[in-house]
């Protein structure tokens, strides 16, 4: 891999930027690979990278029907945190956080992981209690956490609504200082470039239309660019998992829903941290370019249309002003929707499937972006070794049958309420 560094910037700056090479090749598909990963999003590309880097498995293809990073890795609000309370989630997301902390250097690609701190605002005494529970779990699992009182919150984020009359007053907050944001596109590109350097074939414009079976076993995929053989097939197509799984005859407890995101015009620095509210759906951060990036809840009905409805736009606007009154005069530049794989407990599924040769990575709900490194790491482990990585042991498909669900929200089997 031709390295990125201050030196290479300097050299190219003086030579008309002529010496940069393609970040990843654009190869034609080979007839077969040891591992075929379907889905050139963050998770698929990360999986390919860790297959090569951790396990020496380099005869790998990532098939992407459009362009890499075109799905949720490029549509989210870029928040990275590990403040989960339930066994299974806590360790997994913290492992991911640790990978994030070294990611730019591991990939030689600046993913701009910025640990500006994540503040979860408590709007009632009861909520502060549950945040206390979360904070305790975090501490006991070696994760940084602080519980702040109202005045401490005010000192950190004075632009929030501290009125006594507010419907949802600020009672305190849960702070994770190591949490923050990353440049979402860069994650896909960085993994792609690093995987490519190991010889992984990243094949864009290649849609999987079916699976090739030999007896009960899946031995390849049919694509718009022909049949491609595979020792193992890994699905990493969150948002569209059901559609592909159906082609393989796999039934899943997943529904697709839209989560919208919003960005304002670029302004000079105003919001340093990531701030989220518990009482109503609202979370906000400011991108390096200057736009406030924020979001709310799901649109609330099954959808594969990558666009959101106006009702949620209004609700998010209302919540945003209630929490942060000075936002009123800022203007929304763009809003868009991502298609989420929602599961009946709000947690992901990473496991071998009942179909031999087919492995599943999906059901990310809206936790997918922050999970990207750990997801790739663990999925690669599974594909390389044929066994479940201990950190994803809880993310089994059969947990809905056994009752070992991991339901952080406690919303139950209503995917649109998760």
């Amino acid at each position: 891999m031709h390295g990125y560094s201050a030196f290479s910037i300097l050299r190219n700056g003086l030579t008309g930027q002529r010496h940069w090479r393609r970040a990843w090749r654009s190869p034609d598909p080979k007839s077969a690979y040891d591992v075929v990963i379907v889905g050139g999003g963050g998770h698929g590309l990360a999986t390919a990278f860790y297959l090569a880097e951790n396990h020496g498995v380099r005869n790998v293809a990532v098939l992407e029907k459009g362009y890499i990073g075109g799905g949720n890795v490029g549509r989210n609000t870029t928040i990275v945190r590990s403040n989960y309370r339930l066994d299974g989630n806590t360790q997994f997301y913290e492992f991911s956080m640790k990978l994030w902390e070294g990611l730019s250097r591991a990939l030689n690609f600046n993913v701009m992981f910025s640990q500006r701190g994540f503040l979860l605002i408590a709007n009632s005494p009861g909520e502060l209690d549950t945040f206390g529970y979360r904070a305790n779990v975090m501490k006991l699992n070696g994760i940084d956490a602080e519980l702040l009182d109202r005045e401490e919150v005010r000192r950190m984020v004075p632009y929030l609504n501290f009125s006594e009359k507010a419907l949802y007053p600020v009672h305190g907050a849960l702070l994770q200082g190591r949490a923050g944001t990353a440049r979402h596109d860069a994650v896909a590109w960085g993994y792609a470039r690093a995987a490519d350097a190991y010889g992984v074939d990243i094949i864009q414009g290649c849609e999987v239309t079916g699976f090739v079976r030999q007896g009960e076993r899946i031995v390849g995929v049919e694509t718009t660019r022909g049949r491609i053989g595979a020792g193992k097939v890994g699905l990493a197509v969150a948002g569209h998992t059901s559609v592909l799984a159906q082609k393989a005859g796999l039934e899943l407890p997943i529904e697709s829903h839209i989560l919208q995101a919003f960005v304002t015009e670029p302004i000079k620095p105003l919001v340093h941290h990531v701030v989220a509210y518990g009482a109503d759906h609202f979370y906000v951060s400011q991108s390096d370019k200057g736009g406030l990036v924020f979001g709310g809840g799901l649109d609330g009905y099954n959808s594969y249309a990558q666009r959101g409805n106006l009702g949620v736009v209004r609700e998010v606007a209302e919540a945003s002003i209630a929490m942060m009154p000075c936002i009123s005069r800022l203007r929304i530049l763009r809003h868009w929707g991502g298609v989420m794989d929602m599961t009946p407990d709000g947690s992901p599924i990473i496991c071998p499937t009942p179909i031999d040769g087919l492995y599943l990575n999906g059901g990310w709900c809206y936790g997918g972006f922050k999970a990207t490194p750990a997801s790739g790491w663990c999925f690669a482990h599974m594909l390389a070794k044929g066994e479940v990585h201990p950190l994803t042991a809880a993310y089994r498909l059969d947990r809905f049958r056994t009752g070992r669900t991991i339901d952080e929200a406690g919303a139950g089997p209503f995917t649109w309420l998760q």
């Binding site: 910037i9 699992n141 000079k268 400011q286 209302e318 945003s320 005069r329």
Partner: protein
């Protein structure tokens, strides 16, 4: 640059004073801020995003990339407004942005020196060391440099509003097509709403001279439309988004400075227009040209120069070069010449399509054909241009460069429903894709029509759209506009030939002008090359010399041709990669003037046809929308509607500290009980245990259940049985979800054989109600049961404590409330004087207690009656904090335990169910994990360390176990128990560890504490229930 003495659509009798960067200036009513600045000779209006290059006004509309200003101060501060769309108002205060210390001298202009290193995506390649957190250090400076204007940090003092509107036909755009559509639809009898973002109607017609035929046509049409009661014309209104269900999101801005928030008027109004059909007549936007230093102040779209001249009476230059690749710009050239400017046309083609040379000659306009603009000279204002011509380079002095690179239809709104625009090779532009039923297009948005054509198209769309809505009255022929050749200029349309072949060669030439920068730039794959294009390639070397300097594609985001080439070289080839990698199209203008060029340039580089590279996705809003406008009225105390119980005012008047829960306001504690919540709740607990307390429980969900099959129904929805509940008795009931997890609990009382009264928790009231209806409508429609929410029908209060019966007797002396007449779980329903009372003897606190229900209108009266009668018995009110503590002492579960993850068995309630079957959730309750010995179940915990306190959220461990991981469970609810003088808690603890008497450690590392406690029965007080019976 100067204002002309006559002409234009400004009102010279109404001068308006304004300031720009502190400098006082005067404009007129009818000006935009941009036109007024130009009239005052201001060319330099801003600094660019990355290189801080000086910038001037490029356009006359919402596509403006450069002229961003901040208006207002304090809470009214509003950054990033396009001066080209700001209606001038008296007293307006505008500031330029992104410069320090001043616009003329910007220190960060030094960035330009580092430009060679600041290419697209450079930050992905560096700032990664030396330490892991190094990025945080660099980022600090990058963030400070980024952004445009500064936002205010104070709340916005202005008001916003929302209105719900309905129409048959919504028409977007008031140009010739839109007006014609409105007239036709209006005549057909449809309810029509015509939406125009500008403060004046007319669209492109406004750029014609006021004494022209088109101006006469416009005023004629407006007069006719004004006389139609079924047509409403909305100006200053932007259709920012088209949403499913044919709902258009519109924002109406108030006119210049007239909104007065004190009078209740809104600064901006969100209009939600539900239209049966939509006509898109949104026109087209002119594309600039790409050449070296094409961002210099004084370089302006040809159409804009014409608008400033004809609409605002501002002559923006006296020596003008019109650089074009199409006929439409000739019109600007002719009008500028007529106004007295010295005009040279540099036409990149061998010949204009229409016979325009003679017209040019007559007006004294010089036409140079095969003439490519290569460079602009001058820094804060353009001084001259270099032209690349067959005979060599030429330099032409000028103070205005009017450019035209063809036109892009404004397809944005048509694609919001997910309909991708389609590329038309013949006219080399994107036009709307196949729209759904009831959606029509007319005019330039379809891809280049003459004015006459637009009128014809609009007329047809108006007729079709009305017919779609069932409005089909006879419609007259369209009002035609026949423009004579000479007045109309090159064509009879202001769009002229713009959308016909030619632009692409020019677009690509943007790169040819600077071959050193773009060596591998190729033309897009097209059938049949024109000789012209071949010729221009020959001029490459010379072009290189001419074109020293950056050629901007996205002028706002400082994305150059070089950046596009770099993105291509590095493999960021799909249009989305290109945009994201270079930030092209990511600015406040969303790339309205740059997207098309970028796309065709990438197509050229890849040797593909344009559509193969992709189309950009247009997302709402079309232009930025204030968040305040989207929230409308729903701010402050209107953020959400608040629910108040009938006794609300009493609570507030009597010292209650209120707490919101599920939009209800409930007394948290009473300040009369203690200084703070901790002191108050203990006092209130003592009072209930020792004398009596009164609590407002009106917020409980209440559901009336009636019908022949009501008992059977309840038997199915509750896990425990209700069929055999005797009339006049109440029972605690618990419901599961289908997956076997506990859903909610409450009590249900049998009022009659076929009539029940159910209560639910406050939090789950709506969910339970809806679920019951779901089961009846979808699963068991054969059951004859009626369920109706009566939550707000009844006021409800609970009088609890040893003295509660005496108080009840004193308040209602004629009622028999003896233990025999009203035993524990008994019902007394009586008409007591004018009051219909429903008294149910139920206890949550563990004390003898009565729930008194009465019609909501009498709630306060009965409350006061009880307070009065109870005073001698020590009765005082108590709040939810005390209630929550009392129930912990009694081991009653509530929200913290029913958290959506616990089963009946987890909560120690499986005995209630016994061997019943056929209830909701029964089957999946048998899932194997639910009997796992490691699964936590409800326990009581009692702290035995003197002076120490248990905390909610503490994690439970065995003694000597290392404190890490997730432990064996957690504390869910905690309270100090005055009765036991100890801290007690409810918790969920692994079954294998949940042995009464066992010692446990409750760890709260967040406060640095680990407390020892003992596992006990969750019922801390009166386990036999003697206090509540008898």
């Amino acid at each position: 640059m100067r204002r002309l003495a006559i002409g234009g659509r400004i009102d010279r009798s109404q001068p308006m004073e304004f300031t720009f960067d502190g400098r006082a200036m005067t404009g007129f009513r009818g000006d935009t801020l941009a036109s007024a600045l130009l009239a005052n000779g201001v060319r330099l209006v801003g600094r660019s995003f990355k290189y801080h290059r000086p910038r001037g006004i490029l356009s006359a509309g919402p596509e403006e990339p450069n002229a961003l200003v901040t208006l207002g101060t304090g809470g009214r501060r509003e950054p990033n407004l396009t001066a080209t769309t700001v209606e001038l108002a008296d007293g307006l205060v505008a500031e330029s942005q992104n410069r320090w210390p001043s616009l003329k001298f910007d220190a960060q202009g030094i960035n330009g020196l580092f430009a060679p290193f600041l290419s697209a995506g450079f930050y992905y390649k560096t700032f990664m060391g030396p330490t892991r957190r190094a990025w945080m250090f660099y980022e600090h400076f990058i963030r400070k440099a980024a952004g445009f204007g500064r936002a205010g940090e104070e709340p916005d003092p202005d008001r916003y509003d929302v209105r719900h509107l309905f129409a048959d036909v919504a028409i977007v755009g008031s140009g010739p097509a839109g007006l014609s559509a409105a007239l036709a639809a209006g005549e057909a009898g449809a309810r029509v709403v015509l939406i125009e973002q500008d403060f004046a109607l007319g669209g492109t017609l406004l750029s014609d001279p006021q004494d022209s035929e088109s101006a006469a046509w416009l005023s004629g049409m407006l007069a006719r439309l004004a006389g139609m009661p079924n047509v409403s014309l909305m100006t200053r209104t932007t259709a920012f988004g088209a949403y499913d269900g044919n709902v258009l999101g519109l924002v109406e801005r108030h006119g210049s400075g007239t909104a007065d928030p004190k009078e209740g008027q809104a600064r901006q109004m969100l209009l939600l227009l539900r239209a049966k059909s939509i006509v898109y007549a949104s026109g087209a936007l002119e594309r600039p040209l790409t050449f070296a230093n094409n961002d210099r102040p004084g370089i302006m779209l040809a159409s804009a120069a014409r608008i400033y001249l004809n609409r605002f009476a501002v002559l923006t230059g006296t020596r003008v070069v019109v650089a074009t690749d199409n006929d439409s710009a000739y019109r600007a050239a002719f009008d500028l010449a007529t106004a007295g400017a010295e005009v040279t046309i540099a036409d990149s083609r061998a010949e204009p399509i229409h016979d325009l040379r003679e017209q040019a000659r007559r007006r004294g306009v010089a036409v140079r054909t095969n003439s490519l603009i290569a460079n602009a000279l001058g820094r804060r204002a353009v001084r001259a241009v270099s032209l690349s011509e067959p005979g060599g380079a030429a330099t032409v002095r000028c103070d205005l460069v009017a450019v035209s690179g063809g036109w892009s239809p404004t397809v944005h709104l048509t694609s919001h429903f997910g309909v991708k625009p389609v590329y038309r090779e013949d006219i080399q532009t994107f036009v709307p894709g196949k729209l759904g039923a009831g959606r029509f297009v007319a005019g330039a948005v379809m891809g280049g029509l003459t004015t006459a054509g637009a009128i014809e198209q609009g007329h047809r769309a108006g007729v079709d759209a009305s017919a779609f809505c069932g409005a089909a009255k006879a419609v007259q022929q369209p009002v035609r506009l026949e423009l004579t050749e000479i007045d109309a200029g090159p064509d009879d349309s202001p769009l002229g030939t713009s959308l016909r072949p030619a632009p692409l060669a020019q677009l690509v030439r943007g790169g040819y002008g600077s071959p050193a920068i773009l060596p591998e730039l190729h033309r897009p794959r097209r059938s049949g090359e024109t000789s012209h294009a071949k010729r221009t390639r020959g001029g490459d070397e010379e072009g290189a010399k001419l074109a020293a300097g950056k050629a901007f594609v996205d002028i706002q985001m400082d994305v150059t041709t070089q950046d596009i080439a770099l993105a291509h070289r590095e493999g960021y080839e799909s249009v989305e990669h290109l945009k994201r990698y270079t930030t092209l199209g990511m600015g406040t203008d969303q790339g309205k003037t740059s997207n098309f060029y970028a796309l065709s340039a990438m197509a050229g580089l890849r040797g593909m046809a344009v559509p193969e590279v992709g189309t950009t996705t247009f997302r709402p809003p079309y232009t930025p929308v204030a968040i305040g406008a989207l929230a409308g009225r729903s701010i402050g105390h209107h953020y959400k509607p608040i629910r108040r119980t009938p006794m609300h005012d009493w609570h507030v008047a009597n010292g209650a500290q209120m707490l919101e829960g599920g939009l209800w306001m409930r007394p948290w504690f009473y300040r009369t009980s203690g200084r703070d919540v901790n002191e108050a709740y203990v006092a209130e607990m003592r009072m209930v245990r020792e004398t009596a307390g009164l609590m407002d429980i009106s917020t409980l969900g209440k559901i009336d259940v009636q019908g022949p099959d009501a008992a059977e129904f309840l038997d199915r929805v509750y896990a425990n049985g209700f069929a055999r509940l005797p009339v006049g008795r109440a029972r605690y009931g618990i419901m599961l979800r289908d997956d076997g997890i506990v859903f909610d609990d409450g009590t249900t009382t049998r009022l009659g054989e076929r009539h029940f009264f159910m209560t639910t928790s406050t939090a789950k009231a709506a969910d339970v109600m809806s679920r019951l209806e779901f089961l009846l409508d979808t699963a068991w429609p054969d059951l004859r049961v009626s369920v109706t929410s009566v939550t707000y029908e009844w006021a409800a209060m609970s009088v609890a404590g040893p003295n509660s019966r005496d108080i009840l007797a004193a308040a209602f002396p004629d009622l028999d409330v003896s233990n025999e007449a009203l035993p524990h779980m008994g019902l007394l329903e009586e008409q007591y004087r004018d009051m219909h009372l429903r008294i149910i003897r139920l206890s949550f606190s563990g004390e003898r207690a009565y729930e008194i229900y009465v019609g909501a209108s009498l709630g306060n009266e009965v409350w006061c009656r009880l307070m009065e009668a109870g005073a001698p018995f020590g009765l005082k009110p108590y709040g939810v904090e005390a209630l929550g503590a009392l129930r912990v002492e009694k081991g009653h579960i509530a929200g913290p335990e029913i958290d959506g993850r616990t089963t009946l068995d987890d909560l120690g309630l499986s005995r209630m169910v016994g061997k019943r079957s056929g209830y909701v959730g029964e089957v999946l309750e048998r899932r194997e994990a639910f009997s796992d010995p490691a699964r936590p179940r409800l326990v009581g915990l009692r702290c035995f360390e003197p002076g120490k306190q248990l905390h909610a959220g503490a994690i439970l461990f065995r003694p000597n176990e290392s404190l890490q991981g997730h432990g064996l469970g957690r504390i869910t609810s905690v309270t100090y128990s005055p009765a036991l003088d100890a801290w007690v808690a409810l918790g969920l603890l692994a079954r294998e560890a949940a042995v009464e008497g066992a010692e446990i450690v409750a760890a709260s590392p967040i406060i640095g504490q680990a407390v020892r406690a003992r596992v006990v029965s969750p019922i801390f007080l009166d386990p036999k229930g003697e206090r509540l019976r008898g």
